[in-house]
Structure formats: C-alpha cells, structure tokens
Amino acid sequence: MFWRVVVAEMKKNVRQFFFSRATLVWAFVLPLGNGLYLYFLYFPFVTKSVELEFNASTYTLDLVGFTLIGQLLYSFFVMVMVVGAAFDREREQGTLEALLLSPANRMAILLGGALASAVWYMWMLIGVLFSWIGFFQVNIIINDFLALFTSVALSYLSLVALGMCLEALFIHSRRGVMYGTMLQEPIMFLSGLIFPLQAMPRGLLVFSYLIPLTFGLISVRLTLLGGASMFDVAVPLGILAFMTATLFILAMWLIGYAERQAKVKATLTQF
C-alpha cells in the first residue's frame, strides 16, 4: 500500500506537471537563467575562477562550473518545493480534503511528490549538461565516478528530505508558501551556493553547517570540478547521510503534526 501510494502520487504529479509542452521548454530555461544570474554576479570582480578551501587544501574551480553546480543543486531543491507546493494547488482546487480523507500514508504522498520532482529534474539536467558542454565549455575534472555519483545521490536525497519537511507547511496553512520562502532564502545564502564557504562570516558558519545543501555543494563541486576522491569527501558525505536520515524522520513527525493542526483550526479548505 505504501509504495502504491508513492507511485500513484508520483504519476499524478508528473501528469500535472508535464501537462503542457511549454513545461519542457521552461525546464531548460529556468536553471540556465538562474545559473547565468549567478555567473554574472561575479563579473564586477576580477576573476574567472573560484578558490575553494577544504581540508587544508585549496581547489581552484572553474567559475562557470562553480556557479552552475550550485544552481543545479539549488534548482533541485526548488523543484522539490514546487512539487511540494502541490498541496497548495490541492488546496486551491479544493482537493486537499479528499486527499487527506483517504487512508493513504502521508509520508507516501510526500515521497511520491518529491520523487515526481526527480522526473522534472532529470529532464532539466539534460538541458543544463548540454549547455555546459556545448556553450560554456566548463572544465570538468572527474577522478572518482563513484564519489561523484554518491555525492549527487546523497545531495538529492537530503534535499528530498528537507523538501518533505517544508511540504508539511503547505498542509498546515495557506501561508505555507510564505514560510517556505522564508526558509528558502537563507538556504540560498548560507549554503555556499553563491560564494565559497570560507568567505562566510564566522558567526554565520554554524548555520551553514545545519543545511544539508552546504555539504552537498562541497562534495559535488570537488568531485566534478576538482577531481576529488571518495576519501577526500568522506566527511561531508558522512554528515550528509546522517542529516538525510534525521530529516526523513523529522518529516514523518511534521506531516502528522501539520495535518492535526490543520484539522483543529479548520484550514484545509482555506486558500
């Protein structure tokens, strides 16, 4: 029953998401636009590369690659949120009550939604990779494919888990979008998406280390652009794995809490 719900929810969201062919186009344009924005952010300064300090080593990374990886991972997080905002859509359409009336496991519903975003993400990834190779000619250095794959997979899972926690907000209240945005902004700022983490003011670093995307960015950037091995990124990957498991457990509790609160306050039909 659990996996049946996951698959059903995933199919529904994919169907709704890819309702229009225009979505296929926007899926390419959106991350490219984001990436360009970040890339142009560096233009006022004298630089064509970024230095990333990690484990007493300094990696000189291609600027385009640095920003586009950041954008790619963040885009995935945004996709999870967008699909998670399906609850907001359900609320608008008046179907949220019908969904929660069913005995379907709520985690299964959330997971199905999050996995649907993976379908969207795969499509987007194709477009972005073509642009990297063909247009920007990013200098990629991969020495350990297993390390790269593990970094990407764990980053993906951690963002799914984080997204599921935030999705609970959409059930709780029509202000879910607002709360979600409040959390999205610091994630973008504190995770090292825009600039290397060593530049972060000391007082804010502690918050950076609470965000799974921080470790995902370090791992993916080092393994894709810096030629790092599994040994080099073992620590961030280990932390990422722990955070992912914790966030999944937290999501399970949050969804139950949000639903109970929404039923007490009768907010399921308000939009």
């Binding site: 890819f18 062919r21 296929l24 039909t269 308000q270 939009f271």
Partner: protein, 338 residues
Amino acid sequence: MTIESFAVEAQQLSRDYVSTKRSHILGRKTTTTIRALDHIDFEIDEGELFGLLGPNGAGKTTTVKILCTLLEPTGGHAFVKGYDVVKDAARVRKIVNMVAGGERMLYYRLTGRENLRYFADLYDVPKKEVSTRVDRLLELVGLIDRADDEVEKYSKGMRQRLQICRGLINDPEVVFLDEPTLGLDVNIAKDIRKFIREKIVEEQGKTVLLTTHYMYEAEEMCARVGFLSKGKLVAVGHIEELKRKMPTGFSMEVLVTRLTDETLEGLRRLKKVKRVLITDYEGEAEGEKIDRLIINVDSDAAAPEVLDYMSTMHCRTISVNIRGPTLEDLFMFFTGEP
C-alpha cells in the same frame, strides 16, 4: 441586430467542442469533436420564466454560456433583447447576469458586502444606488446579518444566496439561472424557487431562463419549457400544450417484481396501453428486484385490465399510482430517455 421582439432568441444555434489528446507528451495529437448543441431554435418573451430541461450533458449550460457571452457559438445566432451575443457582446453584458449552481463565482476572501460592491463597480451601477441596492439584496435573501463576514465562512446555502444577489446587482433585464438550487437542501431550495418566481419574475418583471434537471422544479416555476436531449431541442412550448401532444392522458406508475421480457411484450400489446417505459428503481422486495414501469394509458379505466394482466403473468405488484402526465413523463415521451 434584429428588431427586438423577443427577450431571448436562438436561431439554429450550435456549439461544437473540439478536444485534442496526446497519448504521451511527445506523441501525436488526435482530435475529437463533440456537438454539444445541434441547431436549436427557441424564443423567450419579455417577463417570462422559461425552463430549459435536460439531463446532465444535454447542453443546458452551454446554451446559457452562449447567451451570456461566455462562449461563442460555432453555428447559428443568438440574440438578447435584439443584440447579437457575439457582435454586440459588450451591450449584452450590460443587461444580463448569470447565477450558476455550485460555490464559485465569488471571492472567498472578501465579505458578502464587499463582493457585491465590487461587482456593482464592474457593472457601473450608479454610485449613489450601490449601498442601498446592496443592502436591499442582502435583506431580500436573508444575509444582511452576515454581510460583513468573509464568504469562506458562509455555508453552501448562504453562498448560493449571495450568488443570487450578485446575479441581480446590475438589475439585469435578463437573468440566466443555471441550476441555481444544485446541491442545496430542500428548504433552502424551496425558498430560492419562491424568491425567483415571486420577486424576480412577478414583482420585477424580469425575463428568466432557468436550466435544471429537476423536473418538479420546472413544473413548479415555469409556464413554458424546452427539452434538451443530446444537444437537440426536442420540444418547446407551454407545459399544458405539450401535455396535450402526448397521445394519452394518464400515466400509471407501477412498481413490480418478477417482471420478464415476455410480460413486457404482452403489456405493450394490450389495446388500452399506448406506451410502456421501464426505468431505474433502486430497491428490493423480499429479495426480489423491483422494476418501475411508466405505462401511458388512454384512460384511468385501463388500470384494472393492466393489473389483471400482470397478475396473470405472475408479477407481484408493489404499488400503483395513476396520475395525469407529469413533466417527467413529457420529457421521457419527447426524448425517449428514461
């Protein structure tokens, strides 16, 4: 623009819906055309309450939407107070309004009063009249005490009553009521019907087109009706005139069990029986399925013969009701639909 002689006029009105489908997002398109309205003609006089009846999917809502300019016809013409609904759409919008069943067409985050004031602005109701008109309408439907609560806090019945206020805010000459009592409980639906008949039509002299699939509703409210079936207007006229067109004056509504095809055939061959319709009935008697028969007979004297025959064929009669033809009978007669 035609010379204004009717409040509403449809001439060979047609509407096709074209739907396209792909088997998958990159697949080829296939197109299907559904004819929702098929060359319908009818007229509504000034001050008349006209009923457009039909089952779901017959084309009632499509007709209403064309007449209030929300849809363009794919064939034919329609006129409201002499204005073409396509060419003179802007003028038509000034003199019509629509109330639809269901809970949409209202801003849930606004109060009842705010909703009405907003629509008053959209209709350019004279400013000095807005407050009094809004209050009067709210009082008429019994919402004045809740006027300053957000619509999201209203019950279904309250929202429908507010819809009626919205439908009258511009003092329209023609009002389209598309299943206005849909989903409402019996008492509220009755109040709304009474309101429409007495306040809107009799007192204010407005022209009303009412669509419904509840036959008793049309029978209670309308003098003239039209029957829509699968996009075609199969009959239109005064209810009494239409009843006279039926070949028989009486109907027997009989609930039986143990009905067989042979019995049915035999029943149809009886001299005094003009027509037999078998309709859905939910229920059982002592474990046996109940069938509902509508038997048109030429007089009530035919009843004993019919019942004797049924008894001979070992059918068990649960109940018999002999009556003059109802609107439901008329509908079934003209459309052939049970």
